[in-house]
């Protein structure tokens, strides 16, 4: 049985007249088990898995071969009993397996199905354009036929979503949000990070770059294993805030920055819920900011109850407090956790904004933003970001964040920096 715990890090002391309360809430899940425990009967298993592989013309050659191999490896990793399907995507989406003429839209994995699926995968051929909304639509249709709690899509592409207006994809993302989770992967350097990030963010998954086609298989295997380890299907983060207050934002800050604020749904007048998808044994951290009316010095106020809800059951709760004080030694302190993740979130946006400016030719803005990113990465001890940034910029002074843009940088290095920008390092706790 999965157990959740919530721990709050904050400086609860506010100076006279202050209204904004910040806290980092660390949520840990233990005993999640695996999806295999959720249901032993084939077909009634608790999880459904779809792999959607780009089959557009651009995939021709090494990419197509590697993608087919990767899909086959993924099929090997999907445990027996798990409902699955394979989609081939170009400007249209095709169900590769179960075969288009099969009567069932998804089948439970078993040795026969595994062999047959691999045979189907081997027949995939590259051709046509790229319209990712059609792939999402087909995945959604297939998932809709199976009554399981946990649905996961792996999406692989190598190119830009060029065969449809952006609006089509945006509308489709909105339509399928909440229906399934999606991890998106781009291979090579011709896909657009922002497009896949849009999909994976809305669908509670990750986006990543696979530089070399031969690495796809390993990545797919890891994604399937990770998906199967998520034994707790649907978890909401709930935030209660007192009458007369305002929730400024709710952000996941570890392991990745993900602003949940816009995904708010109302539980009751004072409580909102933010979907966090399925959980394995893991720790995620959230930065919650609430604005409460100021109270007289000496007063105490509960600013938020941050709760973990599995279904309708609250399984863990953390209290965010506010205490007004005129002792500046108390109120001037900033919680190290809040400071660290505030810096990490700013680092993510500085990288993304810097790269966007660079791409549009605005070198002045790019230099300032990426300089700030270098500074933040150093301050928050994010060595990975630092080394990725150093491939794009020449650092003059790390502490002051002064940099020069490098000439002739590799596109892949920029994309790697972009996709990894949301990954955060954990705060070092004494």
């Amino acid at each position: 049985m999965a157990e959740f715990s919530a721990e709050v890090f904050q400086n609860e002391f506010l100076s006279d007249g202050a209204t904004d309360v910040h806290a980092v809430v660390s949520v840990t899940c233990t005993g999640a088990g695996s999806t295999a425990d959720a249901g032993a009967q084939p077909g009634a298993a608790g999880v459904a898995e779809i792999v959607a592989v780009d089959t557009s013309g651009s995939m021709q050659g090494r990419n197509m071969d590697a993608a087919k191999h990767a899909a086959a490896v993924a099929v090997d990793q999907i445990p027996d009993g798990t409902l699955f399907a394979i989609i081939g995507g170009s400007h249209v989406a095709t169900r590769i397996f179960p075969y288009p003429n099969a009567r069932v839209p998804m089948v439970a994995m078993e040795p026969g199905a595994r062999t047959e699926a691999k045979r189907a995968i081997s027949t995939m051929a590259a051709g046509g354009g790229t319209a990712i909304s059609s792939w999402l639509r087909l995945a959604d249709d297939l998932f809709a036929t199976v009554p399981v709690a946990q649905k996961h899509l792996i999406l692989l592409t190598d190119g830009k979503n060029e065969s449809e207006p952006t609006m089509h994809l945006d509308r489709m993302i909105a339509d399928v949000t909440g229906h399934f989770q999606c991890d998106a992967r781009g291979v090579g350097d011709r896909w657009v990070v922002e497009e896949l990030r849009k999909i994976s963010t809305a669908l509670l998954g990750t986006v990543d770059l696979i530089a070399r086609p031969e690495d796809i298989a390993e990545d797919f295997a890891a994604l399937v294993r990770k998906s199967m380890a998520r034994g707790v299907a649907s978890v909401d983060l709930r935030v209660w805030a007192p009458q007369g207050s305002e929730v400024l934002f709710v952000k996941q800050v570890a392991p990745e920055v993900d602003d949940l604020t816009g995904r708010r749904t109302q539980v009751n007048a004072l409580t909102s819920a933010y979907p966090t998808g399925a959980w394995a044994d893991e720790t995620r951290e959230y930065h919650v900011a609430v604005r409460v009316p100021a109270k007289p010095v000496g007063s105490e106020q509960l600013a938020a109850r941050v709760q973990v809800a599995v279904g309708d059951e609250v399984t863990a709760s953390g209290l965010v407090k506010a205490k007004w004080s005129d002792d500046s030694t108390l109120t001037a302190r900033i919680s190290p956790e809040v400071a660290h993740y505030t810096g990490q979130a700013e680092l993510a946006s500085a990288i993304q904004e810097g790269l966007a400016a660079k791409a549009s030719g605005d070198e002045a803005t790019a230099t300032v933003k990426l300089g700030r990113a270098v500074q933040l990465a150093a301050e928050t001890g994010n060595d990975e970001a630092t080394s990725r940034l150093r491939k794009i910029v020449e650092v003059e002074n790390e502490e002051e964040g002064t940099v020069r843009l490098k000439r002739n940088t590799a596109k892949l290095d920029e994309m790697a920096l972009d996709t990894a920008s949301t990954k955060t390092t954990r705060v070092r706790r004494a």
């Binding site: 007192p242 509960l302 209290l319």
Partner: protein, 370 residues
């Protein structure tokens, strides 16, 4: 006092032999010792059905506490489910309502970390005793001292009440003398309770009782069949606020501010000076004497008897203004809701100190019975 104890039948002040059962020295007027003062533990508490944080429906005091700020419910995590205000511990906020005409609220206020005010009430049909003690916040554990003091004093006053072991009886003048005597006995018992608490705390902590000992003020008022008697040490107060006629402060503060007022400094100026709250008399191991000063009044008509700490009167010192304030909140005529409203009002003014407001609705019906 036991009749055969000859040592107590002699005035401790001048040595004059006292008449049997006398409560004052005939020679110098010094109050003589009493049974209740020397052994408060023998007092029974039949008249003191106190209620703490009651739930009117179930009488349950802890299961479902309500929020002092918004009236919502305190969640199991200790905070209000609606407004997030912390639920208070019973020491931080408690209410007593020993009769439907007598009630009080004792509250931590906003600024102080602890509630060092204490209150103990008792009431019958025509008798009420209201005691308030304000712990001196410069001394640690004054919250323990003030609670012990207020309860000890109440118990002594109850013993002098109509159902007590040594009832004060007779004509009004005799009863004034009797209750003045009782008030001194009560303040002495309260002083002893503070010393007892101080010694116990010192023993527990392994410190010396003379180092920074806990101390508190004392104020009490008794309503006995048409007579009101007040007794005090320090700056907690008794007000008599008649529905018509002159409101008056019965107690006279034992404070630096009061001494300045007596010397001719205007009240407002004296009460806002930095030393205003330095008190000149108190209860505690280091107190020079623990005999309450007393005052009595015979109300001509109905009104409110208010016993309060400076957490309330700091925001409304003048008796007429206090009268207006109480009238404003007393629309229901219920002492409990009125006392609660007074405390909320003081908190809304800033709640810079602990706040206690105890009220008795003295009405012709209550004063004419018996």
């Amino acid at each position: 006092m036991s009749a055969d104890d000859s040592s107590l039948a002699r005035c401790p002040h001048c040595g004059e032999n006292a008449a049997p059962r006398a409560r004052f020295c005939e020679n110098c007027g010094t109050p003589l010792g009493t049974t209740a003062a020397t052994s408060p533990s023998e007092v029974t508490l039949e008249l003191a059905p106190t209620v703490v944080d009651p739930d009117p429906a179930t009488g349950d005091s802890s299961a479902r506490r309500s929020c002092g700020a918004c009236g919502g419910t305190i969640a199991p995590d200790g905070y209000c489910a609606d407004c997030g205000t912390p639920g208070q511990s019973e020491r931080d906020h408690f209410e007593e309502r020993p009769a439907d005409w007598v009630a009080g609220v004792c509250d931590r206020g906003v600024r102080h970390a602890r509630n060092e005010d204490a209150m103990a009430l008792a009431a019958g049909s025509t008798f009420a005793a209201l005691v308030v003690c304000d712990g001196v916040s410069s001394a640690p554990d004054s919250d323990v001292a003030s609670l012990a003091a207020s309860r000890a004093a109440r118990d002594v006053l109850v013993a002098y009440g109509p159902e007590g072991s040594s009832s004060v009886e007779g004509a009004t003048s005799r009863r004034i003398a009797g209750w003045t005597d009782a008030m001194v006995a009560a303040s002495r018992a309260a002083g002893q309770a503070v010393r007892g608490a101080a010694e116990q705390l010192a023993a527990t902590k392994g410190t010396n009782v003379t180092d920074d000992p806990p101390s508190c003020t004392f104020v009490a008022a008794v309503v006995d069949n048409g007579l009101i008697v007040a007794g005090w040490l320090g700056d907690s107060r008794v007000y008599w606020l008649p529905d018509s006629g002159q409101a008056e402060q019965l107690s006279v503060d034992d404070s630096w501010a009061q001494e300045m007022i007596a010397a001719g400094v205007p009240r407002a100026q004296a009460e806002t000076s930095p030393q205003a709250h330095a008190i000149t008399r108190w209860l505690g191991p280091d107190a020079p004497d623990t005999d309450a000063r007393c005052a009595a009044t015979v109300p001509a008509g109905p009104g409110w008897l208010l016993v309060c700490s400076d957490g309330l009167w700091n925001y409304c010192s003048d008796a007429h203004e206090m009268s207006d304030l109480v009238q404003r909140f007393a629309t229901s005529g219920d002492p409990h809701t009125t006392a609660a409203a007074l405390v909320r009002w003081a908190n809304a003014q800033g709640g810079r100190d602990n706040i206690t407001a105890a009220l008795a609705r003295v009405s012709p019906a209550a004063t004419e019975q018996r």
